[in-house]
Symmetry: C2
Subunit: 418 residues, 2 copies
């Protein structure tokens, strides 16, 4: 394995996506940003489009602009279905936060399987998913069954199969694990869940926009995902949800609101759910944040998921090679799958001092990774905005930091906030 | 009553809030905008602040900007508590949409009164409120008791009292009626609801930022409100919710998410609700839209609710005078309370042809009002952004339109969307 910077530069020259880096704002060339999987960079087009939405649509058009805005939830959903995940038009809408969408879809699924007492998930699911499920099972007197997962390896389809039985109403997992980046077996897990007559709900937050998400061919029932990571929609931009077409008119989500009403502006007294995916909408969506999502989705879709996935595998493999050469001797351990096909677009490294290494890296070395509990450093070289040289520079600074002991000036553990 | 334009100009000269009109973008001086109660105008400072948030906070700061953003929900809530409604710090947060907040708070209230089977509301509440309640009572096998209201007069405290009994768990009403602008008796209704041991949930969407909202002194338990009307937060900007401090640690809302967790970034497996108002947060909020709310709230708070309320009463009284003189002879009827103290900052006129008059007014006369089912024209001269001359011009165009029969070219009724 070559570990000289020239190799990184050569890889960048051969990168078919390198031009996409110029589509994003990069005001600080010294910064190595390895957290595009937490908050994607700002597309240049987004700044322009937002300014126009503010000045022209809000400032000049005022209430009349709702004629255009009212379509956005479904239009952007269709763009995600066409360009980001594999789904049909009318199967995805932009709505609410990921958490609220998890609640809506999980509640609808539990209602659709009366008599079944179990919601199945795993202990490597994202915390907010787990919290939503805890709330739902407590309110309904159901049981949350939690599969124990090897945090470095990710969800095992066999373990899912072993945990499934006729008591399970709903099974819900992350497609890509937020810690390790492990990719779950969308087809195999979905089939196993269907074998016992349960429904499956996937969280795509760490997968959509970085790996293929074959919702249709897997037969997945339900999915949610966030838009501010690989989809570059902007901080806290609204989430999306997917409901397989065949289920749309039988599942009923619990939060009935005027955006889910069949004829919203009739202002009828009786709730009459909109047909299709529309009934999964609730209240007035944050328009400016939605427009950010549309621009972000367009950049990713234009690059194309095949190219994005290929670069994600190549970039993370390169990162793993450098980590093997430089960081393992310093006490790091790879805490992600080694096979790039089993890995999303981020890599996690275990180190007992991960917390303070992370602080020192941000504050003294101008590298932004992410800390993940309890002792992991998460490195997300987002394919559209990260070069091989960024990866080289980031890991080079990281090894120099640890060699110099620069992290020892920081408190050893994260302080608990109360 | 003087009906010449000179009178309007004289009133504008004497208006202590006239300078505030210059704080808002007004790219189209010919437009008479009488729908500030649906979507408030764009404050000039908001455009600047949003551009900075996009370029500097998102574009340059990236994930590191969450250090500032994480405080916004509560900080803006405190600004609303201090400057817009009467509440204490730590009693209001920005979160989700109004509809989702109605769901969260109504569900929490129903859970807090087990054994009581009734949710009480009235038939003049905003549709999304009614839909949320229909969904909740259906899911729980409860009853929605609906008070019949005279749509021109608004909620009667006596009628509320007559509908209350020991079966009522929660009563929920709009503080200002969305059609008529009638102001409900916040103190009297709250006291009546408390007399039977029930909780009360107020929707402030059409009141906050235009009338006084004495949450504290009335003893109101719960409230929600939207930010894109009188608070000028921008299209679909996130809503807020209020929970009286004494109730915060006993009420538990049903959507458990990581923003409501005591120590969010510990990423603990078990949900442990944050103390205080924090437990009413759910998922990642749309940051850009939140920033719009902060700027809008600041302009309104700076003007001060006393001045805003005084101008709202004066502007709508002037509008009613002109309507009496010009429009009643043309078949209009005032469909709002005549006493300005019983009226918010908008006025509704009944006319059998309201739908097509509304269309013609927008499309041919450059006046933007709002149509409200089944036959009402709603005129919202938002106090901070509307002059007396605007009201004069708007009503003058309206009478000329009807005199000319310009609305007769439009279809007589709104077409039902399916």
């Amino acid at each position: 394995v070559r570990t000289d910077r020239g190799q990184a530069e050569a890889l960048d020259l051969a990168d078919p996506l390198s031009a996409y880096r110029e589509r994003f704002v990069r005001p600080d060339p010294q910064l190595i940003y390895l957290d595009g999987n937490s908050l994607g960079r700002l597309p240049i087009d987004t700044g322009r489009r937002l300014a126009e939405a503010v000045d022209e649509q809000w400032g000049r058009g005022l209430i009349r602009s709702w004629e255009a805005w009212i379509e956005l939830s479904q239009a952007i959903g269709d763009e995600i279905a066409a360009g980001i995940v594999q789904a049909d038009p009318g199967e995805i809408v932009l709505s609410d936060s990921t958490t609220v969408n998890l609640y809506k879809l999980a509640a609808a699924a539990l209602d659709a399987r009366p008599g079944r007492r179990v919601l199945l998930t795993d202990d490597d699911n994202f915390p907010t998913d787990s919290y939503v499920f805890q709330g739902l099972v407590q309110a309904r007197g159901l049981e949350l069954r939690v599969i124990e997962t090897d945090l470095d390896v990710g969800l095992s389809t066999d373990a899912v199969r072993a945990a499934l039985d006729q008591d399970v109403a709903l099974a819900s997992f992350s497609h890509v694990a937020y810690r390790s980046g492990a990719v779950a077996d969308l087809h195999g897990v979905t089939a196993a869940v269907h074998d016992v007559g349960a429904l499956v709900l996937w969280d795509l937050s760490h997968s959509a926009g970085s790996v293929h998400v074959p919702l249709r061919s897997s037969g997945a029932d339900l999915a949610v995902g966030c838009t501010y990571k690989y989809l570059c929609g902007g901080p806290g931009a609204p989430a999306y949800l997917y409901v397989r077409r065949e289920l749309q008119d039988t599942l009923r989500q619990p939060i009935w609101g005027w955006f889910g009403q069949r004829d919203q502006f009739a202002m009828d007294g009786r709730y009459d759910a909109a047909p299709g995916i529309g009934s999964f909408l609730v209240g007035t969506p944050p328009v400016l944040s939605m427009i950010g999502v549309q621009e972000g989705v367009r950049v990713v879709a234009e690059a194309g998921l095949d190219a994005v996935r290929a670069k994600g595998m190549a970039l993370t493999s390169y990162l793993v090679d450098l980590a093997d050469a430089w960081l393992v001797p310093l006490g790091f351990r790879l805490a992600s799958p080694r096979d790039p096909r089993r890995r999303g677009a981020h890599v996690t490294l275990h180190h007992p001092d991960a917390w303070r290494i992370c602080r020192a890296l941000v504050e003294r070395y101008d590298v932004v990774p992410d800390f993940r509990t309890p002792d992991r450093l998460r490195l997300g070289p987002a394919p559209l905005t990260t070069s091989y040289a960024d990866v080289w520079d980031g890991l080079d600074r990281l090894r120099r930091l640890v060699e110099a002991g620069a992290h020892e000036a920081y408190p050893p553990q994260r302080t608990r906030v109360t």
